[in-house]
């Protein structure tokens, strides 16, 4: 029997709103994961410019005045961090020190300076900080990882990935990179199961209303070559649009989790159903198993921070950078 887990939500990003939709008392029964029996959805008032109190009440959420009240609530076992990336280290630290299991999407810290004080606290609370990777959270992404690691493709040779956040929902963590870059690089790292040894990066010009593009070519220690594109805010689509194709010596596997969105056609034109209706919020299912799996959050964070700096160096030098 799986014990119900009581969740506190901190922040008001798209992920949190999707979870309120999915797990809140007003949500359709069939959408609620069986592992979540009760919960206390709390939100940070100052982080809710677009989520008015009456909307929060509609979902049966408890609105608190201070975010620390969520942590102090004895009925809350776990918290999900959906704040701006800059606020995450403080929230993570407080959650860990209050004994909560902390679920947080990438990035948990944007810079080495933000990570250094948090790193020893994470070390003192092993297994308590769990990473949410948006792509791993999809059924397709998890299937691809499983297939590759089970040897279903033979030896992995090349990977192509496009990670697009069409509406720019994920914030930029530097002039060239968004938090989606972290999700993408972590997913690729899990897929290749090897550290990157060389990276080349190119970024498109930032034009008004135009997309922010980051093109990456990576070679990993096990000789896998990855071509990746991380794009945010390009027009012409309304949701996430990811595509990953892994090629091995014995097979190939292609996923496009969000291309199965519905297209809604009406007299006003056509639109695609937003990603919140898609498969991107399933990371709790399966009894709250950590999506980070066997990954060491500390070493992975450190490794990705180094890779991020290499990407920035590549952009500046306009050449490949060895790691």
């Amino acid at each position: 029997m799986t014990l119900p887990v009581r969740i506190g939500l901190l922040g008001a990003d798209e992920r949190i709103r999707a979870m309120v939709e999915r797990y809140g008392p007003g949500a359709p029964l069939e959408a609620a994961p069986v592992t979540v029996g009760s919960w206390a959805p709390c939100m940070i008032p100052e982080g809710l410019p677009s989520v008015a109190p009456n909307e929060t009440a509609r979902y049966g959420a408890i609105l608190v005045d201070r975010w620390t009240e969520v942590l102090e609530d004895p009925l809350v076992d776990s918290i999900v961090v959906g704040t701006d990336p800059g606020a995450r280290p403080v929230v993570i630290q407080a959650g860990l020190e209050m004994g909560k299991t902390v679920w947080c999407p990438w990035p948990i810290a944007e810079t080495e300076a933000a990570w250094e004080p948090l790193e020893p606290i994470v070390a003192e609370h092993p297994g308590q900080l769990r990473i949410i990777n948006d792509l791993v959270a999809t059924e397709e992404g998890a299937s691809m990882l499983a297939r590759v690691h089970e040897g279903g493709l033979g030896t992995l040779t090349t990977v192509y990935g496009a990670f697009r956040d069409s509406q720019g929902r994920r914030g930029m963590t530097s002039p060239a990179m968004s938090s989606l870059t972290w999700h993408a690089l972590d997913f690729l790292r899990r897929l290749t199961d090897s550290p990157a040894t060389r990276v080349y990066a190119a970024s498109g010009p930032r034009r008004s209303g135009g997309p922010q593009l980051l093109l990456l070519t990576l070679r990993y220690l096990n000789d896998v070559v990855v071509t990746a594109e991380v794009a945010t805010g390009f027009p012409g689509a309304s949701g996430d649009d990811w595509e990953v194709e892994a090629v091995g010596t014995a097979g190939a596997f292609r996923i496009a989790p969000f291309q199965r969105e519905l297209t809604v056609v009406s007299a006003q034109g056509s639109r695609r159903v937003p990603w919140v209706a898609g498969p991107g919020v399933s990371f709790f299912e399966g009894g709250l198993e950590p999506t980070s799996g066997a990954m060491d959050v500390r070493s992975r964070t450190g490794e990705l921070l180094v890779l991020m700096r290499a990407i920035e160096a590549s952009l500046e030098r306009r050449d490949a950078v060895a790691l």
Partner: protein, 368 residues
């Protein structure tokens, strides 16, 4: 170049004197692409002779046209009744054959890439110019209906300022009985082929520059040999930065399992929209078996195959007979070769290659 709607009625056009053509090379591309194009333009062009060191193959292609055949191309180019030749041989022979044809006064439609070195490309430009004959390189994607339509949309500013061009290409690893990259095929022979950068990548190089409408300034590439025992790269991925800020990226894989669909994926992102053309979104047939799904006709159903070579041949014939501009100039084909060779150099060095302006000095190893 705009879409030539009239060219959809290839077979109905007739002129008193069809362009008399000799076909040099009777391999896969000749049989699958050029011969059907010749067949589609019966009143416009006439196949006079075929040459190939394998006389049997030359005869097989020539017979349905009541054409002659030779084992030595030099005999073909000396014929008085040949106006133009189509060169469909491995790229390392392009310059020698073009030189012989031009010296004999024949116009030349040559398979891509223009040559395997810039020195050979320059020789081809020089000899055709000196002898007053036309030289067109078969960058066939430009004659694909969908790419022409996409180009028209870009010219009409349909997506605003272009930011990204992606053209990916997927093909299965070679079958045991031959074909590209298989042991014994010229594409897998380092004496005749430098690998994927020219065999496939030349298409992407030309297409990217065509759609970007700018000069490339930098390229970075990674390449690999995917097939066991291979001697030349059959995988390459690259990123091109153009002078106008456009980024273009291509990933070309020739190592997919046989059941995987062959496909092209072109995407263009602009400030106000996006264009996409993906073969795998238009699967014509999928066969689900106990071993999984297969795509039995995906290669033949690739949209770039349909009528492409007929459009190309007709455009060449029009330019030769009408004296108008060539839809693909030799200089553009040389630029595509320069770009593809730069990609290969980048992959070998693990460094980005800074590209010279068209009239400038190319990188050290790329100098003719």
């Amino acid at each position: 170049m705009s879409v030539d709607k009239a060219s959809l009625q290839f077979g109905t056009e007739s002129r008193p004197e069809p362009l008399r053509v000799g076909l040099i090379g009777a391999g896969g591309i000749a049989e699958s692409a050029h011969v059907p194009a010749l067949r589609n333009l019966p009143g416009r062009v006439r196949l006079v002779a075929v040459a190939d060191p394998n006389g049997g193959r030359a005869k097989a292609l020539a017979d349905p046209f009541d054409a002659d055949y030779y084992e030595d191309y030099r005999a073909l180019v000396q014929r008085k009744d040949v106006d133009a030749v189509i060169i469909a041989t491995p790229e390392r022979w392009h310059a020698d054959i073009t030189t012989a044809a031009a010296e004999a006064g024949k116009h030349v439609l040559c398979e891509k890439p223009i040559a395997h070195t810039l020195a050979d490309a320059d020789r081809m430009l020089r000899v055709t110019r000196d002898h007053g004959v036309r030289l067109m390189i078969g960058h066939s994607r430009r004659f694909t209906a969908r790419y022409q339509a996409l180009k028209d949309l870009l010219d009409e500013n349909a997506v605003g300022a272009v930011a990204l061009i992606r053209e990916n290409e997927r093909r299965a690893r070679p079958a045991s009985d031959g074909g590209y990259w298989s042991p014994g095929h010229w594409t897998a022979d380092p004496a005749q082929s430098v690998g994927v950068a020219l065999t496939n990548g030349i298409h992407e190089a030309d297409l990217s520059a065509w759609l970007a409408r700018s000069e490339p300034v930098r390229i970075y590439a990674e390449a690999k040999i995917l097939r066991e025992g291979g001697k030349v790269p059959d995988f390459i991925t690259w990123t091109i930065t153009f002078a106008n800020g456009v980024l273009a990226t291509s990933e070309i894989v020739n190592g997919l399992p046989p059941s995987y669909p062959a496909y092209h994926q072109l995407e263009v992102y602009g400030t106000e929209g996006a264009l996409r053309a993906k073969d795998h979104d238009m699967q014509s047939a999928v066969c689900y078996g106990t071993e999984g799904a297969t795509h039995p006709i995906s290669y033949s159903a690739l949209l770039h195959q349909q009528d492409t070579y007929t459009r190309q041949l007709k455009a060449f014939a029009d330019a030769v007979e009408g004296g108008g501009p060539l839809p693909v100039t030799p200089e553009e084909a040389r630029a595509a070769l320069y770009l593809a060779l730069a990609a290969q150099e980048s992959a070998e060095r693990g460094r980005a290659v800074k590209l010279a302006a068209p009239t400038g000095e190319p990188p050290r190893r790329l100098r003719p």
